[in-house]
């Protein structure tokens, strides 16, 4: 049985716009749960450019991606949002009536979040592992090709090839080395982006003859019935040969894909969700789309536009959460009621 969590609004995506939506909804006494596939909040800001400066956030001549995320987290703390990280929303069920809909979003961690309104703030989609362009790759996925390690035991006694040169690749080389019968690391150059101590540990194992390092790239897969038997490798020196193996773990970073949202029955336009520009509601009443994932005439993919969209969507969402209440617009500067919610009065 899935765990069912009831809340006011479920937000898909914990990037800057999803986070700011918590603020705007919070001022209206609306509680939120956020779901994100990444292990931390912040979306692209935290994953793609934490150190890089952003110059077009109003009031901040310069701010880094991570600083913006940290500030947003501080700003929404009074509203106690609940985060479900490392989880992807893989299904949506709509119950209730058109005027009082009820949304049940299910995650791959067997949770169901039931909400009166749904905010899709999924940016460019969900971050998913990049798949190398090798013919027939799909047939081996989850049986012989893995983009993450869920069960170490699967690799016991097997010949494992790890491809890549970052922390994920190096960490798994070191973790799987005692379990696998032989571990081989393949990387295109003799330089790594990983923590120096991991690189040193890997080099020591290679030096002691306990694992192999191949300077080169994988060009083809060999095997049958979902089981790899060898990888064709082109070495840096030009030699092409077959390396016998049972499992391959490619680590080429993450890419953004729309993912399960495509199957939720929403109108889509080139992988974006069309909304109105008054309340940023989608073709399904009660489902809002804010930030980079939405589209409308004149849309700009800017964080500041996402903030504006979240503020307006929140006003409309109020009516789904509190159908019988009247909403009075207030300023945080002058309203003691808002200040009490923010914990400053």
């Amino acid at each position: 049985m899935s765990e069912v969590i009831s809340t006011d609004v479920a937000i898909v995506g914990a990037g800057p716009v999803g986070l700011f939506a918590v603020f705007e909804l919070g001022l209206l006494d609306i509680k939120c749960h956020l779901i994100d596939i990444l292990p931390k909040p912040g979306g692209q800001c935290a994953e793609l450019y934490p150190e890089k400066p952003i110059y077009d956030i109003p009031g901040f001549p310069i701010i880094s991606g991570q600083e913006l995320v940290d500030n947003l987290m501080k700003q929404i703390r009074p509203f106690g949002p609940k985060f479900h990280l490392n989880e992807i929303v893989d299904r949506l069920e709509i119950a209730g009536t058109a005027e009082h809909p009820l949304f049940r979003v299910g995650t791959d961690n067997d949770k169901v979040i039931e909400a009166k309104a749904l905010f899709i703030a999924a940016g460019g989609g969900s971050f998913q592992p990049k798949k190398p362009p090798l013919a027939g790759l799909d047939a081996y996925e989850n049986t012989s090709v893995f983009y993450s390690v869920r069960k170490m035991e699967h690799f016991r006694g097997r010949r494992v090839v790890v491809v890549g040169g970052g922390d994920s690749a190096l960490d798994w080389v070191l973790n799987l080395h005692p379990v696998a019968s032989r571990v081989t690391l393949i990387h295109r150059r003799d330089a790594f982006r990983a923590a120096p101590h991991s690189v040193n540990a890997m080099r020591a194992l290679v030096g002691a003859g306990k694992m192999d390092f191949v300077l080169g790239q994988v060009t083809a897969l060999k095997g049958a019935d979902g089981q790899l038997s060898a990888l064709t490798v082109r070495r840096e020196d030009g030699e092409v040969y077959d390396l016998a193996c049972d499992d391959m773990l490619p680590f080429f970073g993450l890419t953004m894909k729309l993912g399960p949202i495509a199957h939720w029955g929403l109108n889509l336009h080139e992988n974006l969700i069309p909304t109105d520009t008054e309340k940023f509601e989608t073709s399904v009443p009660g489902i809002f789309a804010v930030g980079d994932i939405n589209t409308y005439p004149g849309k700009l993919k800017l964080i500041l536009c996402g903030f504006h969209e979240a503020a307006l969507a929140a006003q409309r969402a109020f009516h789904y959460v509190y159908p019988d209440k009247k909403l009075t617009f207030q300023y945080t500067t002058s309203s003691t009621s808002l200040q009490r919610k923010l914990g400053v009065s």
């Binding site: 793609l48 362009p133 890549g164 150059r189 982006r193 080429f252 970073g253 890419t255």
Partner: protein, 106 residues
């Protein structure tokens, strides 16, 4: 204005005008040239604007920086003439530049 030619993986060639000072990636997007995704928008953070610089141009274009070289680890089928097109600035010296886009970016 300088001309940049993009050849896709299937061999189709497209020559477009690039603005001096903008990047080869921006030139591709502005002219709707397929084969360049530029997921991160030019922050040198994703490796989805990978191109192969035509051999006669590699010297003029130059080598990738350390940060770009690190990012190229996330690209597929990296070759000695691989570059990220968000890190190549269009200049007078690059008038006539030819780059090939790989079969798969992300």
């Amino acid at each position: 204005m300088t001309k940049v030619t993009f050849i896709d993986a299937a061999g189709q060639s497209r020559t477009v005008e690039g603005q001096v000072g903008s990047t080869v990636m921006e030139t591709a997007l502005r002219n709707s040239v397929p084969g360049i995704e530029a997921e991160c928008g030019g922050a040198c953070a994703c490796a989805t604007c990978h191109v192969y610089v035509s051999p006669e141009w590699t010297e003029v274009v130059g080598k990738p920086s350390q940060m770009e070289e690190d990012m190229l680890d996330f690209a597929f089928e990296v070759r000695p003439n691989s570059r990220l097109s968000c890190q190549i600035k269009v200049s007078e010296a690059l008038d006539g530049l030819i780059v090939t886009t790989p079969g798969k970016q992300g």
